[in-house]
């Protein structure tokens, strides 16, 4: 019995040692700045780190549809709300959940918007499971994501506290003025059929929603227009699932005349992603909804937020709308 206890203590002891080493190496190898030079992956998605703490009202998390189709600067100009898009190419919901955890470390958003295209990121059950484990490990211990930084990191940097200096004026939006219209058939043909949301995705989505609710943050499921990646079956699936969770789902692929959307002028790549014009239309429409449903403050005249006005000027120079 004594020997059994001794062995158990050893197992826990060694595991604790290993975890301590992993935590220390995570600290040492994690990028100390959210810039490309600082070594962070996807600097624009992580730009919220360098926004003053607790200044972001709305966090938008999703894949390329999110960073192409949502414009924080238009929302600022139209409504005075501060939003940041943390979008990653082909992001899964597990990765979205991991991103949410990072956002909540430094920001206290009142609303979190989850773009739902990631509910259907094509991958097998096994790949999905791997992505979930990968995202969880990566968000808990950054050494799994940034282990290769041992090549570049300087000794003095190892124990330095993070200091985030990266500034992203469009607040995570990928600004594109390209126009490559979509002239094909209508893709949202009404049907009663429904696509299937993978179990692993549901698990991550539920964790996402629960985290927000625990912190009293409003959650919104959003689908921005995308001809090539969306259809009515997916709409039905997300609508049903959102109802089950008690989450509002806004599908902007339906009734697009509400916000004067035009596939010939509002997409940069023939119907997959939106350009700056399309993003503007979608964001202003959403802004109205946010204004009606959430008690958000207009910060445009607040001196603390004067940098946002400068950023808008920057944005306006680049966005040819």
């Amino acid at each position: 019995m004594k020997s059994g206890l001794k062995k158990l203590i050893r197992v826990f002891g060694f595991t604790a040692l290993l975890i301590a080493l992993v935590i220390s190496s995570s600290y040492m190898l994690a990028p100390k700045d959210n810039t490309k030079e600082g070594g962070i992956v996807n600097p624009s998605a992580n730009g919220f780190f360098s926004e003053p703490k607790g200044t972001i009202d709305i966090s938008v998390i999703g894949n390329s549809d999110a960073y192409s189709g949502f414009s924080p600067m238009e929302l600022w100009n139209g409504y005075g709300y501060t939003a940041y898009v943390s979008g990653e190419g082909s992001q899964t919901v597990a990765q979205a959940y991991s991103m949410l955890s990072k956002v909540l470390k430094v920001q206290t958003p009142k609303v979190v918007i989850l773009e739902t295209d990631g509910f259907f990121t094509k991958s097998k059950v096994v790949e999905n499971a791997a992505k979930i484990v990968n995202a969880s490990l990566g968000s808990s211990f950054s050494v799994f994501q940034y282990h290769d930084r041992w090549k570049k990191v300087k000794i003095g940097e190892l124990f330095k506290k993070p200091h985030y200096t990266g500034h992203c004026a469009p607040k995570g939006q990928w600004l594109s003025n390209d126009v490559k219209g979509y002239n094909g058939k209508e893709y949202m043909k009404k049907t009663d059929k429904s696509a299937e949301i993978p179990l692993g995705t549901k698990h991550s989505a539920e964790a996402f929603v629960k985290t927000c609710r625990d912190k009293n943050i409003g959650v919104l499921f959003l689908e921005l227009p995308s001809q090539s990646s969306w259809n009515y079956k997916k709409h039905n699936a997300v609508k049903k699932y959102a109802d089950e969770l008690g989450v509002t789902f806004i599908d902007m692929n339906i009734d697009r005349e509400r916000f004067d959307f035009n596939w010939k002028t509002d997409t940069r790549d023939g119907g997959n992603h939106l350009n700056s014009k399309g993003a503007r239309k979608c964001t202003l429409f959403l802004g109205k909804y946010l204004e009606e449903k959430y008690n958000l403050t207009d910060h445009r005249k607040d001196k603390k937020y004067s940098r946002w006005n400068e950023d808008f000027k920057d944005y306006s120079k680049n966005a040819k709308i």
Partner: protein, 528 residues
């Protein structure tokens, strides 16, 4: 599902071990069987049907052989010697027929699925040479996971039963588990029924020492695969894919690094496999025994992929050696040739089939056959020139067993292996020949350092690979000298042990070539 993935290590292996430990003794085999089939279904989907059919074929053939043997045992009682002999001959014919049909079925799957494309393209080439314009269909099947391994295991089982080494199992689950056990299904080691089946079936209680040893072995395997092999792959795939761009020195470096990669990867995989099996109390055969300390190519192949070599020795070499035509040849050479040649000629005849088999087993292509015959040719040169070499050493009064001579023999063997590995890795024999020519005509030591840093690996990568190789070399050297490293380490004080284990685990996490910026590299031998 790769053995280095989180899915395998954390989710699959972890949950199977917990369920296995929690199950009553009698049902533990069921956990292994179900999990093995789940593993197979996840990895290979519907192609599981070939594994089931192969299992069924050898199982029923084994039962049939048992029945034939039993009926012979009853029938022979009270028979005269002559009648007994007649009956035995009849029985032997029946048994041969059963084994032949079974082997035809199981190797039929392998030949059709793995080699039909090769056969069709070869037929097409022959018909073109005859000035015919053939329109043969292009056929390429998806290979079921581990078919080259479980087919050999299945064949070994039925041949052993036929030879009377043991009685066929009447328990279908036992045979199914023997052929499908998930740690070994991807790359072997090629197991033997009499060594493995009972271990798998009987069920083992949780054992702390076995558990820690299994985990240590898995981490050691991950170190070899992820830190060394996958990092070396960066330069290897670049240079082998575009050899024309590079100087001879870089091509030689790529050949050496590929040899490092394939050894670290295959032996690393075996460490993960053996470690995984150890967690369930199953001891599997070793597949490597410090092959790069071999003094001859012959010895190298006794230490490299040991279970394949042993399988070919037991079921091909001996089968050929003991066949009637071979015995006739052997008698003829002994009568008509010198004593030495009389022994060598039949052996070289039997070895031809073994080496042809090794080459052909590795892949459906001329390149692989030449790969096998390359080693066959080296061995033949060695065997036939041995008397001359021995005489030369004697005349020159050089001690063949001195440290210097032995070291030179090791270097020579390694060089020959590197050339063989380059043939194995090159897309075609023509490309391999081109690479070999470039090594000799455009070797520039002056630009080697600069050139080698332009192939995807930076100086940090080289440093890690070099340190990793140094660690493997040190461990191999100690093992070669008879030091039992794990036992020695286990005797050290706790802080020393923990420091070693923690360093190993942490080096995999930090220096492993995985994640952003790295392509996942499939196990090379898993593709056979």
């Amino acid at each position: 599902m790769s053995y280095t993935s989180y899915n395998y290590l954390l989710l699959f292996l972890g949950s199977v071990l917990i369920i296995y430990t929690a199950m009553p003794q009698k049902l533990k085999w069921l956990v292994l069987l179900i999990s093995s089939y789940v593993f197979y279904l996840i990895s290979s989907g519907r192609l599981v049907v070939f594994l089931v059919l192969t299992t069924a074929a050898v199982y029923f053939a084994g039962i049939f052989l048992n029945k034939i043997n039993d009926s012979f045992a009853i029938a022979k009682k009270g028979l005269e010697k002559a009648d007994k002999k007649l009956l035995k001959a009849n029985i032997a014919w029946q048994k041969r027929a059963v084994v032949a049909v079974t082997l035809f079925i199981i190797f039929g799957f392998l030949l059709v699925l793995k080699y039909s494309g090769f056969f069709i393209s070869s037929a097409q080439t022959v018909l073109k040479l005859l000035h015919l314009k053939p329109k043969l269909p292009f056929v390429k099947f998806i290979l079921p996971l581990g078919i080259s391994y479980y087919t050999l295991q299945a064949a070994g089982y039925i041949i052993d039963v036929y030879r009377g080494k043991y009685r066929a199992s009447e328990n279908f689950a036992k045979v199914a588990l023997f052929l499908s056990f998930f740690p070994q299904i991807v790359e072997g080691p090629i197991g033997r029924f009499d060594l493995l089946a009972d271990q798998l079936y009987c069920g083992h209680s949780f054992d702390y020492d076995r558990f820690t040893q299994g985990i240590q072995r898995i981490v050691w395997g991950l170190f070899k695969k992820m830190v060394i092999a996958d990092r070396a792959n960066i330069l290897v795939s670049e240079v082998f894919g575009n050899y024309n761009k590079y100087s001879g020195g870089v091509i030689l470096l790529a050949g050496i690094l590929y040899t490092v990669q394939i050894y670290a990867e295959f032996s690393g995989c075996m460490d993960i496999v053996i470690g995984s099996a150890q967690l369930f109390g199953v001891e599997m055969s070793e597949n490597f025994e410090q092959p790069f300390f071999s003094k001859s190519v012959n010895e190298f192949w006794r230490r490299w992929h040991i279970t394949l070599g042993a399988w070919l020795r037991d079921y091909v070499f001996y089968s050929v050696s003991l066949s009637k035509p071979f015995m006739k040849l052997s008698r003829y050479t002994k009568e008509h040739m010198s004593e030495q040649l009389g022994a060598l000629v039949p052996a070289s005849f039997a070895l031809f089939f073994t080496w042809f088999g090794i080459g052909f087993w590795h892949g459906a292509g001329v390149k692989y056959i030449i790969y096998g015959l390359y080693y066959y040719a080296i061995m033949m040169v060695g065997m036939y020139s041995e008397p001359l070499v021995a005489k030369a050493f004697q005349t020159l009064k050089i001690n063949r067993n001195s440290l210097l001579t032995e070291s030179l023999r090791i270097i020579r063997t390694t060089a020959l292996v590197v050339v063989g590995m380059m043939l194995f890795r090159a897309e075609t024999v023509k490309i391999w020949a081109g690479m070999m020519v470039k090594i000799f005509i455009s070797f520039s030591a002056a630009t080697l350092l600069k050139d080698s840093l332009s192939c995807g690996m930076d100086k940090h990568d080289f440093l890690i690979v070099a340190l990793g190789v140094a660690v493997i070399f040190a461990v191999s050297l100690l093992k070669e000298k008879g030091v039992k490293i794990r036992e020695s380490l286990a005797k050290q004080k706790l802080p020393v042990r923990w420091a070693v284990y923690a360093c190993l685990a942490l080096s995999v996490i930090i220096f492993g070539a995985y994640g952003i910026g790295y392509d996942a590299v499939d196990f090379i031998y898993g593709q056979f």
